[in-house]
């Protein structure tokens, strides 16, 4: 089988830089990381200098994701040799046990870390992940809430909590988490759009109007967000079709929906140029927009 460097015609420096980029962007493309990382370590390990340790960590976690316990153990052993008393390495040992579904043993590792260092956030988050993996969502939610009382600025935790609430259909609490995230990340169009989706799901006129506003806000922050565009179209259409709204609100929302429909059509026409592939989806969108226009007027 051809090596990564042969297949893509890259040298070891490019491979190292790619791994760094994936680390910085927090990508979870584990199969690629394993392919590139394994080759880099075995063929060019000596050239990596001190970078080698963080690469061992990155590759080890990716290996767990791909059920490559052999590779994970190799990386872990190197790290243990170099950093014998490290909590960070202990956490990796725990993660390996989690991957093997030996949750009780993993928990012992994390509790030992927390005994030594009660502020170790990584160990606490791993314990919550174990609860999630075991399907104990209620406990995971409770622990995560407790964690956030102490570490109120942890964005990743707020987002994880919002996901847990969404899965549990607790949309009110999910919305609260997303509100926290929007406050601290006002330019993030994804949080606006997710918040709008939650509000839409909650339903009712007031929530629909809020959802429309936040879809619009998401579009202001990123005018290529198709979900926000469709969301704006659908929320405005539903408001316009509601018997509870007055004439002015109806008129305004028909206008918003019309604008969104135009934008959607434009986007699809642009996307459709030159590719035969998505003709089906294009036609489907056109017809859908046509039929919804008819029901609104």
């Amino acid at each position: 089988m051809a090596s990564v460097s042969e297949l893509y015609d890259v040298g070891w420096e490019e491979m190292r830089d790619k791994l760094r980029k994936w680390r910085e962007d927090n990508c979870r493309n584990s199969e690629q990381i394993v392919d590139v990382g394994e080759e880099l370590i075995s063929d060019h390990g000596s050239k990596l200098g001190d970078d080698v340790w963080i690469i061992y960590e990155q590759v080890m976690i990716a290996a767990l994701d791909c059920s490559r316990d052999d590779l994970a153990i190799t990386c872990l052993q190197e790290l243990k040799k170099q950093f014998p008393d490290s909590h960070r390495v202990k956490r990796l040992s725990g993660m390996r046990l989690e991957a093997l579904e030996r949750y009780d043993e993993a928990n012992k590792y994390y509790e030992a870390i927390l005994q030594d260092d009660p502020t170790n956030t990584a160990a606490r988050k791993r314990k919550i992940s174990i609860l999630k993996a075991q399907g104990k969502t209620t406990e995971a939610v409770r622990e995560l809430n407790e964690y956030l009382e102490q570490f109120v600025g942890d964005q990743e935790a707020w987002h994880e909590l919002s996901e847990l609430y969404i899965n549990e259909h607790d949309y009110g609490k999910a919305a609260f988490c997303l509100e926290e995230l929007m406050m601290t990340n006002p330019h993030n169009h994804l949080y606006c759009e997710q918040y709008a989706e939650v509000k839409y799901t909650q339903g009712g006129l007031e929530n629909l109007e809020l959802s429309r506003k936040y879809f619009a806000q998401a579009l202001r922050l990123n005018n290529r967000n198709m979900r926000a565009l469709f969301g704006l179209y659908m929320s405005a259409s539903h408001i316009a079709a509601s018997p509870k709204v007055g004439a002015k609100v109806k008129k305004d929302n028909i206008k918003y929906a019309g604008w969104a429909a135009n934008q959607i059509n434009r986007a699809y026409k642009l996307a459709g140029r030159g590719t035969k592939e998505n003709k089906c989806s294009m036609k489907a969108v056109e017809e859908m927009l046509d039929s919804m226009q008819i029901t609104m007027s």
């Binding site: 979870r28 993996a133 399907g135 969404i166 899965n167 259909h169 997710q194 709008a196 989706e197 939650v198 839409y200 799901t201 339903g203 959802s211 198709m226 979900r227 469709f230 969301g231 659908m234 929320s235 986007a267 699809y268 996307a271 590719t275 592939e277 998505n278 089906c280 989806s281 036609k283 489907a284 969108v285 017809e287 859908m288 039929s291």
Partner: protein
């Protein structure tokens, strides 16, 4: 209740969808282009929908509407719903699965709800890792295994494994991916052609 037959194309795409997003819950719609007599259902195709926020309404509604439109353009109809949970050990239908399946059964009496059993997925499954439910007296109950048919299961399984090994599952486009890049085709014509090629008699399959 009647028999249900799952085509190679529908099974393979569903399977590849679950394999493409192993850490997420995924769902999709089951389609039929045939109407055999006697209440039997023949699932001839599927449309993979989401791999995130399965229980949020707007994108699900959008996808249902678009697939509906596409179906009426192509003489197909939505006959069921499939889902694979993120937690592989839990293959029970979630409330949102039941809701969507309910909606589908409003339009089609013999609608099916199919859960992929992540814990049972392996390259040498003797039986397909799926659990099916049908609607009876407004509840979803387990369907009798003997009424579920997958013609040429071994060939289907071989095709699914082959496509997984050669990385073809990365070609699969679900509705979520389509919204990230609308030049991608959620009807998956490319993948359909590949499956057809692999299933054709020229490849030694019947």
């Amino acid at each position: 209740m009647g028999e249900i037959e799952l085509s190679c194309r529908a099974y393979v795409k569903m399977y590849l969808h679950a394999c493409l997003f192993p850490r997420c819950g995924v769902n999709g719609l089951l389609l039929s282009s045939a109407s055999p007599p006697g209440g039997a259902v023949c699932v001839t195709d599927c449309v993979p929908l989401l791999h995130s926020h399965l229980s949020l309404a707007p994108i699900t509604q959008l996808a249902l509407t678009q697939v509906d439109v596409w179906c009426s353009q192509t003489q197909q109809r939505i006959v069921g719903y499939y889902q694979a949970n993120a937690c592989a050990s839990d293959s029970s239908p979630t409330p949102c699965a039941l809701k969507i399946a309910d909606k589908i059964s409003e339009q089609f009496n013999n609608a099916v709800l199919l859960m992929i059993d992540g814990g049972k997925m392996s390259p040498d499954d003797r039986v397909p890792p799926i659990v099916m439910y049908e609607r009876k007296d407004s509840r979803w109950i387990l369907k009798d295994k003997h009424t579920i048919m997958l013609r040429q299961w071994e060939e289907t399984r071989a095709i699914a494994n082959q496509m997984l090994d050669s990385g073809d599952h990365t070609l699969l486009v679900d509705f979520d991916s389509h919204l990230d890049d609308i030049t991608k085709d959620w009807t998956n014509q490319k993948l359909n052609n590949k499956i057809l090629e692999l299933a054709s008699p020229a490849n030694g399959n019947v």
